[in-house]
Symmetry: C2
Subunit: 336 residues, 2 copies
Amino acid sequence: MPARKRAALERIPAHHAALLNDHAAFTQSLDAVDAGITANDQFFRAVLKADPAMLAGYLARMRRMGLATAPEPQPADVDKAVSTLKQVARDWSAEGASERAKCYQPMIDALEREFANVEERSSRRVLIPGAGLGRLVWEAARLGFASEGNEFSFHMLLVSNYLLNGITRPEQHTLYPYVHTFSNSLNFTTDQVRPVAVPDVLPSSLPDGSDMSMAAGDFVEVYSSPTYTDAFDSVLTCFFLDTAHNIVEYLEILHRIVRSGGVWINNGPLLFHWEDAADPRELSIEVDWTGLRKLIEVVGFEIEREEWIETTYAANRQSMLQYVYRCVFFVARRKP
Amino acid sequence: MPARKRAALERIPAHHAALLNDHAAFTQSLDAVDAGITANDQFFRAVLKADPAMLAGYLARMRRMGLATAPEPQPADVDKAVSTLKQVARDWSAEGASERAKCYQPMIDALEREFANVEERSSRRVLIPGAGLGRLVWEAARLGFASEGNEFSFHMLLVSNYLLNGITRPEQHTLYPYVHTFSNSLNFTTDQVRPVAVPDVLPSSLPDGSDMSMAAGDFVEVYSSPTYTDAFDSVLTCFFLDTAHNIVEYLEILHRIVRSGGVWINNGPLLFHWEDAADPRELSIEVDWTGLRKLIEVVGFEIEREEWIETTYAANRQSMLQYVYRCVFFVARRKP
């Protein structure tokens, strides 16, 4: 990326290039970006080295699915690596604290209020589908719950495995998650190439006897199994519902796996992931909140609380462009 | 688009489809979307009929540029049509008033303050590069200035020509600019398929003797001509600077065309349009605000005011996802 920008500098009049270097720190910024990319690369190398068996298993599975045939990284691979870096900052850095306060904290608060008796929590099973890098799963485990995350993405699973099991001290890595975007920057040096230390806490520092697990796989495939009928006292869905191909299927599964009287806590927008899929064979059913609310009640939940929370998602909070989500936060109880 | 969604309904279990239709108004929403698309189509047909000579000229030029060879509309064409509808709402509907208050009004206020003597305004030449659908050009003309817009996009030029010259009464058309997005909707009926009446004012209602013109073409090509040296008392750039391939070239031209002592008024983010161009031959030079600020002074302007304004751009303000720009608003004077 910096290579292309250096080449651009060669194509413009020499006095323009001189102005950019003398007054806009152009080449110095590219050098800093290169250094940031190198640091990011070191993090990913640590991830890949952490669990060779897990990596080999994923690679074999990707080959079976025909997903690992390209000899060179494709643009979509690069996008995933970049978004993974931003997710690490969101879930496991001081930089992400403000987003976690908007996204996770209201859910944690509702969970604590629902299960106020701390002694009983170890027998309370909590599921977090779309667990990503596992911070919410970890927070629930830290509060004493039997906490299970579910995640489909290879990228998320490899990185969360490293963060949860391979990290030996807080702030072990320095990442540069915002280094790839040159637009909407107030100051390249202090915004775009600023370092983010991860993790903010030692993930392996959970109290003795904590119960935290991650289940790999597609939510529909995994939790359609009768094993999970009435299995959970609570399910927490954060920026997850809109990953559905068929939202009604999600609702039916959620209703089946939450025990009677249990609570489903949600926070997120309705940015249906498959709406604009390039492949027309990808199924996508989108609903509005008005319709979704009715469907949630029809399948057998009662919405007890409904609030609106504005938040960004894995954002560079210093950028001149912010994607602000108006999330619907709700607590729904499975009707007896 | 609704056809694909109707097909999706056939692919899911019948009882899911029944739930969606009975409780989430699924098929009814698709019918409303179809009606909205038909209304949008009528607007575009009126645009295309308004000035056959202009249309023929553009089509001939597009053929020469090799841009009119595809037998069917391509996804990029659809995107442009959709974003044009949203731009119409932004510039020429009551719906867009809140964005115009954030984007245009501070610029208009600064222009009025600079040229407080109303009688002299007809001899004051004001240029608005990236004029889009012309509202800001029109507002400057209404205040008495000799107002010139510049725009490159065929879509914008065709539609602004119709709006400015072909419309005979306010609210002559009803558009559905938000009908194409099914995600992040609180209520399909009241959000996604709500009508927007355009225009909010009669564009041809400018006072007698008003001086408003639109120049078609690329900013760099048109205004590099010596004809324009010292030509303008003021230039207004709104969401324009980041359209540059080479921002230094823009700055030099701006400095050349604003007369000594004249003012350049800017409002917008730094979302450089060519940063992620798929074609690596497209030149893109991105700068941060810190560097750009220095370059503006180095080329010969003095920034007299600098403020920050948060605004959306052609947004559906009822959506659960808002792109919020932190725009830099400034008034810069060309040094003597």
